[in-house]
Amino acid sequence: MEIRPILSAMRRNKVGAVLIALQMAVTLAILCNGLFIVEQRLSLSSRPSGLDEANVFILTNQWVGNPPDLKARTQADLAALRSLPGVVAATVTNSYPMSGGGSSEAVKLNPDQKEASATTALYLVDEQGLQAMGVKLIAGRNFNADEIPDKAGFDDQVPPTAAIITRVLAGKLFPGQSALGKTIYVQFQKHTVPIVGIVDRLQVPWVEGDSWAADFNDNSTIEPFHYFGGYYHYMIRTQPGQLASVIQAAEKQLYKLNRARVIEKSVPMLEARKIAYKDDRGLAIILVVVCAALLAVTAFGIVGLTSYWVAQRRRQIGIRRALGATRNAIIQYFQTENFMIAISGAAVGVALAVSLNLWMVSSFAMARLQTGYAFVGAAVVLLLGQAAVLWPAIKAASIPPALATRGGA
């Protein structure tokens, strides 16, 4: 394929060629950054919480007034919930992963430390807590029934007797050594708490993409308490397939025990996940749609402009055909032309994509773009150009050689 005649033809259509190249460059820059963000948000929203999500639901309970017998009421509720058919375990908790509400605490190794060693989310549960969550204990032991003090409200400063922490938090606090048996200071910072167990994974309550807690997403501490107050959650784990029926029975049973309460709604964990990540998934979908529209616009722009070039050169194409050029040669001409434009556009585009990403890294705390994305983007843009140019090129190839002899354009 001769490149020189293409170049000289392009020189006469400089602006058109530059416009296409620029479009391709910007398309490429947006495409790979956009898809990079999509990939990040989707992988963010599919991180496991650590819970047995398919079989766990949350029932949020608020008592009317400030009844003096909160402890008795809570225990009666728990006993009723645990005796429902299909229930594996149930506990009271102050918070749960993906809820967006809970408590974050500084963890210190000694009380005089100025800077905390880590930040953690705090979950307060009873002896059935681990089982109700369905978290995986990878070292140490569960809480014993005799080490679970009462705690009337989150402010009640009862010293905790033990803590179970996540693998990630353990690694952060005691890098390179076992955290079991070590002690930490957490919440009120007045009492040492021995670490008795380590769970594989348990997310903090704040998980969405723009979350302020992104830095300590997997730092969770579980403490044993019989927790009761005006407002708390029951976390209930059911046998597989029994979730819906247990939810119905649970609400009914609790209202039967006592009507002076508010149960806003029972939320299955899978539902909580949907709610927590709705904006991240939404952003991903929007970006995919925008990228698709962008590719379409760029493709149609190429079709339009190339068609115009074909129309403009009808006579010349006719002459070339009359002089013996095959249809394929004509198609190849336009494909090569587009390829040359696309290559320069892609080169500019890759540079643009990387600088756009660097700017986003510095101003939106984004992750660095993997270079693979830029090259995949470049390949997509090149292929897009070839696909878009095909139709006008085939039309050009169908110009009859006789056109050259007729004289008129």
């Binding site: 296409i20 402010d155 508010v262 749609v289 925008v290 722009g301």
Partner: protein, 440 residues
């Protein structure tokens, strides 16, 4: 002449329907995408109270050891966005501003008078009566409670229009009572629908959410030990146990706003705050240099970073998309106009000057811009609907187009089309009549 050119433009556009449709589609899609995100962005960052945003100030007092910073938080200067009970009370007692209120968000369980109905939850805001005139809350029935009610810890409440609809069927409920957590409160006022977006006076808690359903005197809420449903932050020293301990602690959980009508009053209040903090330093409560801050509504929104990164990314992406659409339309317009070089040559030879050719082509671009703008508006409506479906209810509240948004869309598409048309039009003006005629 103008209508003749418009007529010519329409004829010319009809002659090449495919190219015309592509250009209109390109501009329309670009406008649709950019206006969708711009509408949300404007709603996020817009001034929620334009008449008074320079007179309302959020107050901050550095009551935590600046060395003891936690490893997260969005405040760049390490000051806390909320105040302690002690500081809130001291500032309220001083009455140093024209109007002022400490406040916090909490909740009650409301027991309906009809025993058939189950109790339900209401999000409530504890505030002083100045809250209502400060933030220009409109009233449907009744009025805010009196200043004396604040002092007397009175059992009075103001309802949102929605709660009044729900509980009293929208009737005038002033004088009626509500049972909140077993205690009766008397309704003194019902608001008109009111829900500033963003909820600038409490950006810590659900910043794009609805305004609270019920309002009661701060003093009464503290007596009732209304639990805080908002952000509650402690550093190191968490004080004594129980509600009293909470009130005496260095934990921060109150928003504090002051209305300062003039620059002088703001300056006076600033030095008043500094004096307050200096006194506390001398008294030994603050073992660090006194730090305070006073920010008006716009400054406060910037400081609290109201606009999310997701929204910024979307605006960036969609405007780059518009740019691609512009390049696209420009290429197509160039093709179209240069395809008519022969026509232009004839017109020039018949006496039309460059200016005439120029304005004719520009009007053609304008017509495309208008058509693209209309298509863009339809696509914007569609896009905003899509956002409502795809994003959380909170963000969904930001997806309503205002008249300003519509005019921006039309202006943007006209500008875009004219910008795209400028170069092709200039090229058209350059057509040499003699050369074109010879070629024929």
């Amino acid at each position: 002449m103008f209508s003749y050119y418009v007529n010519l433009a329409l004829r010319s556009l009809r002659r090449n329907v495919v190219l015309t449709a592509l250009m209109i589609a390109a501009i329309g899609v670009g406008i649709g995408a950019s206006m969708t995100t711009l509408t949300v962005f404007r709603a996020m960052s817009g001034d929620p109270i334009p008449q008074k945003s320079h007179q309302l100030f959020a107050v901050q007092i550095g009551n935590w050891d600046p060395q003891n910073r936690r490893d997260y938080g969005r405040e760049p200067d390490g000051l806390q966005p909320q105040l302690t009970y002690m500081d809130s009370m001291a500032l309220m007692k001083s009455h140093a501003a024209a109007r002022q209120t400490a406040m916090y968000v909490g909740g009650f369980a409301l027991t309906p008078s009809n025993p058939e109905l189950r109790p339900f939850q209401i999000q409530s805001r504890a505030a002083y009566t100045d809250f209502f005139p400060m933030f220009q809350v409109p009233f449907r029935y009744g009025a805010p409670w009196a200043a004396a009610d604040d002092e007397n810890h009175a059992d009075v409440v103001v309802l949102s229009a929605e709660l009044n609809d729900k509980v009293f069927g929208g009737a005038n409920s002033v004088g009626k009572t509500l049972n909140l957590d077993g205690h009766d409160y008397r309704v003194v006022g019902v608001m008109e629908h009111w829900s500033p977006t963003p909820k600038f006076y409490d950006l810590n808690n659900n910043q794009f959410g609805k305004a609270e359903e019920l309002y009661l005197p701060f003093t009464r809420a503290i007596d009732a030990q209304m639990p805080s449903w908002g952000n509650y932050n402690c550093s190191g020293d968490i004080g004594e146990p129980g509600w009293e301990g909470r009130l005496r602690s260095e934990c921060v959980w109150f928003q504090y706003w002051a209305e300062l009508p003039s620059a002088e009053s703001a300056a006076r209040y600033r030095s008043f705050l500094m004096n307050y903090a200096s006194d506390l330093q001398r008294a030994g409560r603050f073992r660090w240099l006194p730090r305070t801050s006073l920010r008006d509504v716009r400054e406060w929104m910037d400081y609290q970073q109201v606009v999310t990164n997701s929204a910024r990314i979307l605006v960036l992406v969609s405007f780059s998309f518009l740019f691609v659409c512009l390049l696209n339309a420009m290429g197509l317009m160039l093709a179209k106009i240069m395809g008519r070089a022969a026509d232009i040559g004839v017109r020039r030879a018949l006496g039309a000057n460059r200016y005439a050719i120029f304005s004719q082509c520009l009007i053609e671009a304008g017509v495309i811009g208008l058509a693209g703008g209309l298509l863009g508006l339809v696509l914007t409506a569609l896009g905003l609907w899509g956002l409502r479906v795809l994003l959380s209810e909170e963000v969904g509240r930001l997806t309503h187009m205002s008249v300003t948004d519509i005019s921006i869309a039309v202006a943007l598409s006209l500008t875009a089309a004219l910008l795209a048309g400028l170069y092709p039009t200039w090229r058209a003006g350059q057509v040499q009549p003699a050369w074109q005629l010879k070629a024929q």
